[in-house]
Symmetry: C2
Subunit: 254 residues, 2 copies
């Protein structure tokens, strides 16, 4: 099995290193990842600038790796279409330092890397680890392997679905199990701090705290809050068919 690994924390991040070290025991692993952190880049791709691709020797023998001065979506698009000789069997994006739950998926570069995988018709998985500072990527990678081996025995990995896996913070409490979930509601009280720079010119900087929202039992947010690994299947049919049915009844003129 050939696996293409990317992330949005950059190729030097600890999360991708631990993941690759485990994956290479069961698969041929290629790494194509951004040369620096690319969090919150959404599904941005680079069209007006060239992309530089540089060989990277930070992984152990047998792992071909490149870093790219672009986004996670760039890495997967360039990798699958051009850099790799054969289409990989799987794209994995992660392990992200921090969760990607609920509406996070809209902004997340980690998710975008996996989405670009399915755009390129490769089954894809996004993996994120909850917490703030002391991420236990070693233990998280073990959990990923346990789940991956079970996923491979199902037909859940498809060319149309991203499997979004979130692991709770691993340092405080034991993980209770795995739950298949829908996206919950996770919003921030977005506001911008208005500051002045050393020359007295003003600027804005995005701040905001996570809102306390009630999430039902069947959501990823609830699962991770309660020490379960959440697995959420994501699709990319953005048409609101329900709205469309209503709209079709009307007759607009020009």
């Amino acid at each position: 099995m050939n696996i293409l690994v990317t992330n949005d924390d950059g190729i030097y991040a600890e999360g991708i290193l631990h993941l690759v070290n485990k994956l290479k025991r069961v698969a041929t692993v290629f790494v194509i990842a951004p040369d620096r952190e690319k969090s919150a880049t959404g599904h941005a791709i680079t069209i007006h600038d060239p992309l530089r691709v540089t060989k990277f020797h930070g992984f152990s023998d047998g792992v071909k790796a490149y870093h790219v001065d672009g986004t996670p979506a760039d890495c997967v698009k360039l990798g699958v279409s051009t850099l790799l000789d054969d289409k990989p069997d799987l794209v994995i994006s992660g392990i992200n330092a921090g969760p990607n739950l609920g509406l996070d998926v809209l902004y997340s570069g980690t998710i975008a890397g996996a989405i670009e995988g399915v755009v390129q018709e490769v089954p894809s998985i996004a993996i994120s680890l909850g917490g703030h500072d002391d991420f236990n990527f070693e233990k998280a990678s073990d959990i990923v392997m346990t789940i991956l081996l079970q996923l491979l025995e199902t037909d859940f990995l498809s060319k149309k679905t991203v499997v979004n896996i979130n692991i709770p913070p691993l340092n405080s409490q034991d993980i209770k199990g795995v739950k298949f979930t829908k996206l919950g509601i996770r919003k921030y009280t977005n506001f911008y701090e208005h500051r002045s720079d050393p020359r007295g010119k003003s600027y804005y900087w995005l701040a905001g705290d996570l809102m306390e929202l009630t999430n039902t039992l069947d959501t990823d947010v609830h699962a991770v809050d309660n020490y379960y690994v959440s697995i959420t299947p994501l699709h990319f049919d953005f048409t609101s068919h329900k709205d469309l049915e209503r709209m079709k009844q009307s007759n607009f003129h020009l």
Copy 2:
């Protein structure tokens, strides 16, 4: 009615100018748009850098305008949460120079501006004009106004749905009417040109042609190809509920 207008071609683009000139006749218009082109930035937002906000005097009297050194999603998030005194009644993103059909919506900064509108719980519309070079934004703006006035008489504008409007190229043939559509299939034969820079170092640049794909009558691609304005409602429930039902039957262990 207060309308916040943004785009991804930048505040100096012709499309936003024509649109604002028409909108201001029926509403109070605020413009908060990127200070330069931000195409294909997807739903990227700026979190690791400050945002500079600069007053812009390029619109006529009565139109308050700012440009921001960020993405369309930044502009709407910053605008609605912080810069505007009151939440606008409507966010409009456009008029984009070029269509946003099918899978384009994944990469489009125009669409992301409108999506951020609904994230901020403001009904939102994305508008794009087909073609390559000689865009007739004057005529396109008239079409937008005709459609907008009809939309406002329906309940189609909601805090959960982006209304994605695509206008066919306006220079060759008469527009036949308006169709409510689903997203079609629009893919590119993505490949990267491998070149050398003047110093002999290699780089890759995204190329690729639009693939000839068969689109059914009910799609936005088919409508625009046949000189209809397409209106597609977009939702943001990324959970694949169909996959989830199947997955829930299984029992994964750690």
